[in-house]
């Protein structure tokens, strides 16, 4: 009928004042947006209800589209499953099965509970350092994490694919607190031995897990596949302080210095809204 009508381009919403919004727009842009013919496909960003109510609504525009929101979250629960990968580790891969439960009390704000449990696999580098150079590395192995927090969703937008199909998405920031469980294997420690001075070094402690209070910040996006299903990714920084002595081969002689540690996780999964 009217084939070939160019109906979309990438939008820049430069009138936004909030640096946070601009930051999130940037992250939206670096997302794996569909690799498509730019002249036909694009993304549009709307304003969340909270912004709209505070005077957003594109008031300066002579023509607007106003319609019922495609995907509403207010008063709905979101139950999701994700695979989390800790990205900032040199010597191990850590994978965590993650569950999230959110309650959205408005389009912009939600409370979240989350939990993750997993395992770590040593990288080849660690084995080489040990076998070739006799360097034993002490590693923070994340075993589990659970947290509670709050989500703020300032961006609601849509992409148009080359097929003409629209995909709605939102972008959110998260902040919260919880506990991170670190597993200590003490595999860098030597077994008990008698030294030249006659003293006997103790055996390393038995493997165990210790928990540390954690603060979390992050950002993520949901892509709404239907009115009940969303694909979701999160990038989160889990910041916690641990006692150096907890991983020491001989805790009695260790200094016991507190150190900050960050786990930056990339989480991919799906959520069901009900």
């Amino acid at each position: 009928m009217q084939a070939g009508v160019s109906c979309s381009r990438h939008h820049e919403q430069s009138r936004w004042k909030s640096p946070a919004v601009l930051l999130l727009t940037f992250f939206s842009a670096i997302l794996p947006a569909p690799q498509i013919d730019v002249s036909r496909d694009g993304a549009r960003i709307s304003e969340s209800s909270s912004m709209a109510q505070s005077g957003g609504r594109f008031d300066d525009y002579e023509i607007r589209v106003i319609r019922p929101r495609y995907f509403t979250k207010t008063g709905r629960m979101e139950l999701g499953g994700q695979l989390s990968v800790v990205m900032n580790q040199t010597f191990t891969y850590t994978y965590l099965a993650t569950g999230i439960l959110n309650y959205h009390f408005s389009e912009a704000w939600a409370l979240e509970l989350g939990g993750a449990y997993g395992f770590s696999i040593d990288k080849e580098d660690k084995r080489l350092l040990d076998s070739e150079f006799d360097i034993k590395t002490q590693i923070i192995r994340t075993k589990y994490a659970f947290n509670g927090g709050v989500l703020w969703t300032p961006i609601y937008g849509k992409y148009q694919l080359s097929t003409g199909r629209l995909v709605y998405f939102d972008t959110f920031l998260s902040a919260g607190a919880g506990m991170t469980g670190v597993e200590y294997l003490y595999d860098h420690c030597s077994p008990s031995e008698r030294l030249r001075d006659g003293t006997i070094t103790p055996d390393p402690p038995p493997p165990g897990t210790k928990s540390y209070p954690t603060f979390i910040i992050g950002l993520g996006q949901r892509f709404f596949a239907s009115r009940t299903l969303a694909l979701r990714w999160d990038v989160r920084d889990h910041l916690f302080s641990y006692n150096d002595a907890d991983g020491a081969c001989n805790p009695e002689t260790a200094d016991g210095v507190s150190k900050l540690h960050q786990n930056v996780t990339m989480q991919l999964g799906a959520s069901h809204f009900f």
């Binding site: 009508v5 939008h11 709307s46 209800s49 008031d59 002579e62 607007r64 589209v65």
Partner: protein
């Protein structure tokens, strides 16, 4: 010599006897196959070998033993073709039976009428075909129960087309409730009631159609046009809010959707919801619909701006009409001149436009587009499509069908049916095209009138005339035809010069009245 002559006489007598015997044998040979074919055809039909039975019945029909056998063969042929799924071909022979009318010498009349009703309920035979069928009045007592819906519905349609509405009402009411024609009859009862000024009753009939239409393609279409008609009745009785609520139920992928958007814009105008009027027109003027024929939208847009004292925008609207439709006049006139009296050619032109192979009369495409969306074109298109499908299927039945002449007979019938549909539709579409041209000229005159009044400074008088309808403060709408519901979560998108297909139909303007002395005349900005 004598002996010789006697011998010759005997020889002559023997020759005469032999000749007589040969003639008798030939006569027997000529008559026996027909009888044998009919019996064999019955056998093949009983074995469900309809391909063979059709060919044999056709032979028996061509060379019958007697009149009774001819009729039986005709019925058998129609039934065989029907069983093979060649519905149009079967309808040829059923129709011949029906046209002879109910009489003792036509024993298959009732059954044939019933079968035609069944065929037409699944595949339209075409209005002209059915008019021919019922040209001679039939005593309703002779119409079998299952065919009564078909019979009375079409009598109703014929009376309706002749504007004999009372008579039409009588026929539509006699369509039995179990008939597949009942919902359509109720729909027409609604139309006739509305014409008689019985608006509430009309709405009741359309509501009944909405509730009882089947969940198939035809049922959905009926439901859609029932919604459209309820909207129009409400508009007529000045219940604009209700009208818009029904317009909003027309699905986006429907050919009627843009009509609903346009008609709802008028309803908004009469409710003094100017931002919604302009929003709906914004959809109609989008590049997605550049070939759609809504010239009146520019008039509505200009008078809406006039109401808001936005005179520059009024001029822009009038210029928009001129820029878009002035070039159309020349092409439409040339097109109508060329195809005057050439119905087939005109139909072909619309067909070429529809399939995208037309590269002439580009500036008249909006009118060709409108014509290609009419029921007339659609019905003729269906007849052509169904006929073509049957013609292509006929080639599968070669052999006996071609040697008996059945294949040629059916092909000839189907081609004539197509030709009749094209000629009839072409004529009616040409008339409609000419009426569009006249309509366009009338609108052009209106734009000139608005312009002239503005130039002469008679704006206030014009605005006073435009104070029709009443402002409905209770009715609040968001974009398009959606009512605003309390606690509804909304999404807002700015229009920055580019059109998104999903946003069509949801635009709303955000402007105030510029009238100095009439600040309250416009809508409140920002709902």
């Amino acid at each position: 010599m004598k002996t010789t002559s006697t011998h010759r006489g005997l020889k002559a007598r023997r020759s005469t006897v032999l000749a007589l015997a040969l003639v008798s044998l030939c006569a027997v040979l000529l008559t026996t196959p027909a009888q044998a074919n009919y019996q064999a055809a019955q056998g093949a039909y009983a074995r469900r070998d309809y391909t063979t039975s059709a060919a044999m019945f056709f032979q028996a029909y061509g060379f019958p033993k007697n009149a009774a056998e001819k009729m039986k063969a005709e019925w058998g042929l129609a039934q065989s073709l029907h069983r093979l799924g060649l519905l149009y071909s079967a309808s040829k022979y059923y129709s011949m039976i029906v046209r002879r009318g109910p009489r003792n010498s036509n024993p298959f009349f009732r059954k044939a009428l019933e079968e035609l009703g069944n065929i037409n309920s699944t595949m339209s035979l075409g209005q002209s075909h059915i008019v021919q069928l019922f040209r001679a009045r039939i005593d309703p007592a002779n119409v079998p129960g299952p065919a009564r819906g078909f019979y009375f519905y079409y009598l109703g349609i014929e009376a309706f087309n002749r504007r004999r509405f009372e008579e039409a009402l009588g026929y539509f009411r006699r369509v039995p409730s179990g008939s597949p024609y009942h919902v359509r009859a109720v729909f027409h009862l609604g139309v006739v009631s509305n014409l008689a000024g019985q608006h509430s009753q009309a709405i009741n009939f359309f509501e009944s159609v909405r509730n009882s239409a089947r969940r198939d393609e035809e049922g959905e279409w009926l439901r859609e046009v029932a919604n459209l008609n309820i909207a129009r009745v409400n508009y007529e009785v000045k219940r604009y809010r209700e009208s818009i609520q029904y317009y909003a139920q027309i699905p986006r992928d429907s050919d009627n959707w843009l009509d609903a958007i346009f008609e709802a814009a008028w309803a908004f105008f009469l409710m003094q919801k100017h931002n919604n009027v302009l929003g709906n027109i914004h959809t109609i003027h989008s590049p997605f619909f550049e070939n759609r024929f809504y010239p009146e939208s520019f008039i509505l847009q200009s008078i809406t701006f006039l109401r808001l004292c936005r005179y520059n925008e009024v001029k822009d609207s009038l210029r928009g009409f001129r820029d878009r439709y002035r070039p159309v006049f020349q092409d439409v006139k040339g097109m109508l001149d060329q195809f005057n009296g050439k119905a087939n050619g005109f139909f072909r032109l619309i067909y070429d436009y529809r399939v995208g192979s037309l590269d002439r009369y580009k500036r008249a495409w909006s009118i060709l587009d409108a014509l290609s969306r009419t029921d007339v074109y659609r019905e003729a298109g269906n007849t052509i499509r169904f006929s073509d499908v049957e013609i292509s299927r006929l080639s599968r039945f070669g052999g006996r069908w071609s040697s008996s002449g059945l294949q040629d007979e059916l092909k000839s019938f189907l081609n004539k049916k197509k030709a009749a549909a094209v000629a009839d539709a072409g004529r009616r579409l040409y008339d409609k095209g000419a009426s569009y041209y006249a309509y366009l000229k009338e609108l052009s005159d209106q734009t000139q009138l608005i312009n002239a009044e503005m130039v002469l400074g008679r704006v206030d008088a014009m605005r006073a005339k435009l104070k029709v309808g009443t402002s409905d403060q209770k009715a609040n709408f968001i974009g398009g035809m959606q009512t605003l519901n309390v606690d509804q979560d909304l999404e807002y998108w700015p229009f920055e010069g580019e059109y998104w297909e999903d946003e069509l139909g949801a635009y709303v303007y955000n402007i105030d009245s510029s009238c100095a002395a009439d600040k309250g005349f416009g809508e409140k900005k920002d709902k």
